[in-house]
Amino acid sequence: MSRKIMIEPVTRIEGHAKISIYVDDDGQVERAFFHVNEFRGFEKFCEGRMFYEMPWITPRICGICPVSHHLAAAKTADGIAGVAPTRTANLLRELMHMGQIIQSHALHFFELAGPDLILGFDASPAVRNVAGLIQQQPELALKGVGLRRYGQEIIRTLGEKKVHPRFAVVGGVNAALTPAGRDAILAGIDQSLADAKLGVNLARSWLEEHGDYATHFASFPCGYMGMVQDDGALELFEGKIRLTDCNGRELVRFAGAQYLDHVGEHVEPWSYLKFPYYLPFGWPDGSYRVGPLARLNVASHISTPLANEEHKRWKALNGGKPVEGTLYYHYARMIEVIYALERVQQLLDDPDILSNDIVVNSNEVTGHAVGAIEAPRGTLFHDYHTDGDGKLTRVNFIIATGHNNWAMNKAVEEVAKGYVDGNHLTEGMLNRVEAAIRAYDPCLSCSTHAVGQMPLAVSLLGPGGQELDYRVRG
C-alpha cells in the first residue's frame, strides 16, 4: 500500500489559491494540486442583460487586463449585431490592446515577478516586492513603473480611464483619436522602447546566467495555443488560433467561432478554475499552455523588426522546438512588449488612425456570436446567445489563465519534486513553488478571483494526520 503524506495549508484564512502535495512511501512527490478558491458567477448573472452592456460588465471580471474583456465583449457584440467595425475602429481598438499588453507585462515583469529575479528568490520576503525594489534599485524600478504608465496612458487617452475604460462599442469605438492624443503617445515611444529593451536584456541575461537551472525549472512538454496571422506571425488582436503539439507541429488552426469544436473544459472538485484541453486528445492528454511562452512557440516569426530579432534568439533556445521552461515566460513577456511598442508606432503612423469614421450602426440581432482575443495571459473566448431583442440568454467564457491551469499544477509538481524530501519543508520550496506559479502571471480574478495570492502557511502531515513540519510566511 502506498503511504501518502499530504502537504496542505493549515489555515483557510489567507490566499485564494493554495497547494496540496501528495508524497509516496519513499518521500517522492506523486501529485500536486493548485487550488483556486473563489467563484463569482459572471456566466450566470449576465443572463437577462442586454448584449451591448457586456463591454462594460465583463471588464469587471479582471481589473488587471480589463481591456481584454472590454474588446472580446465588443467583438462578440459586433457579431450579435451583425456588423464589422470600420478600419479605423479596429486600428484604435488594437492600439488600446497594445497599451494593455505593455502595461500588464511591465507590471508583471518589473513589479510582481521581477523582484524574484532581480533581488533573488531567497531575498527576505520583507523586501522581495515592488516596494523593496523601489528602495534597493530605484532607477530600474522607476523605468518599470514608467513603462507601465506608458501603456496605461495609451488606454486613458482612448478610453478616459486607465482601469475599466469605456471605449469600444457595438460596431466600433465611441471617440476618434485627436492629433494631440496621437502626438502625446508618439512622444513617449522612444523612452518606452529603451526601457523595454532593458527588460528584454535583463530577462535574457538572467536566463543565460542561470541556464541550467532555468532550463530544468518546471520544464515539461505539452501543446501550445496562440493566435497567429495568416502567414504564421505572432498576432494578439485578430486572427486564427493555432494549436501545436509538444514538438511544435500544428494540430489545428481555427477561427474563434469554432472554439467548441476544439476546446473542452474539465472540472476537478478541488478547484473553481476549470481545465481546458484539446478535445480530440481528451483530458488530460490534450493539455496545452497559453500566454507569452506559448505564443512565441506557436508563432513562426514576428512581423515587427526588433521583436523578430529577439524572436530568432528565442527560436534558437531549443533548436527550433518549443521552449519548455516555465521561467522563460518572463523573457517571452518582454519580447511581446517590444512587439506591442512597435505596433503602437505602426498604428499611429497609419493615415487612417485619426479618421472620424469610427462606428457602424446596425438594427439587426443575429442571436449568437463568439469573440476571441489574445489577452496578455493567453487566449480569451467570449460566447453569447441572445433572444430576438438582444437580451442575453446564455453566456460562456474561457479565460486566459484557465488554459494554463493544468500547467500551473504540473509546474508546482515539478518544483515540489526537487524541494520536498519527504519529511520536511524548506523555505526554498515555498519561494520556488510561488515563483513557478507566478511565472504564469496567473490572473485568477478572471473566471474566479485570486491574483498572485499564494499560500501563507504550509504544513506537512503524516498519514495519520500528525504534523511533521510547519512553515509560515509573513
Binding site: H35, E43, C62, G63, I64, R149, Q152, P269, H449, L456
Partner: protein, 179 residues
Amino acid sequence: MAKPKIATDWLGGCAGCHMSLLDIDERLVALLDKVELTSSPITDLKVPPASGVDVGILEGAVNNDEHVHTAKRMRERCRVLVALGDCAVFGGIVNMRNYFPISESLRRAYVANESTVDGVIPGSEDIMRPIAARAVDKVVKVDVYLPGCPPTAEQILYVLSELVEGRIPKIVGEELKYE
C-alpha cells in the same frame, strides 16, 4: 517617529482598485518614504502584523466564508479601515449574482455548460464556500468609504496622504463618484 503602517487585501473583486493604487506610479517612491507597506497582494507578506497597522484597506465585496474572516481580521488589526472601490463600498458588480441562487450559478458554470465535459460542482474541503455577496460594512465597521470603479490613483493618493497626516479624508464634490 516610526512610519505609519498600511496593510491592504482584496476580497471578491477584480483587483482593479489595486491596479489603480499602482497607477500612483513614481509618486509611490515619495509615498513609501512616508509609510510602510506591510501585507498586501503586491508584497509577499500575507497577513497584517499582529501588532497592528494604522491603515487597513479592503477591495472587493464579501462573497465567501473566507472573506468574512479576512475582513474581521483586518478590522481587528487596523486603526482606520478604508473600503476601496464600489464593490467594497456597496457590493458593486459582484452583487449582481445575488439575483440568482448560488446553486444555479455554480450549475451553469461547471455542469450545464457548453464547453464543459463531464462537469461537477467543485466542493472539496480544500476550497471556500460562496455566500451571498455584500458590502464590507455588512460584516465589519468601515471608517472611510472611497467609491469608484475603480477610484482614480489621485483619489487614492489623496486619501492615503490625509490618513498619514492623521486626518480623516473627506471625499466630496467632483471627487465623489460611483459607477
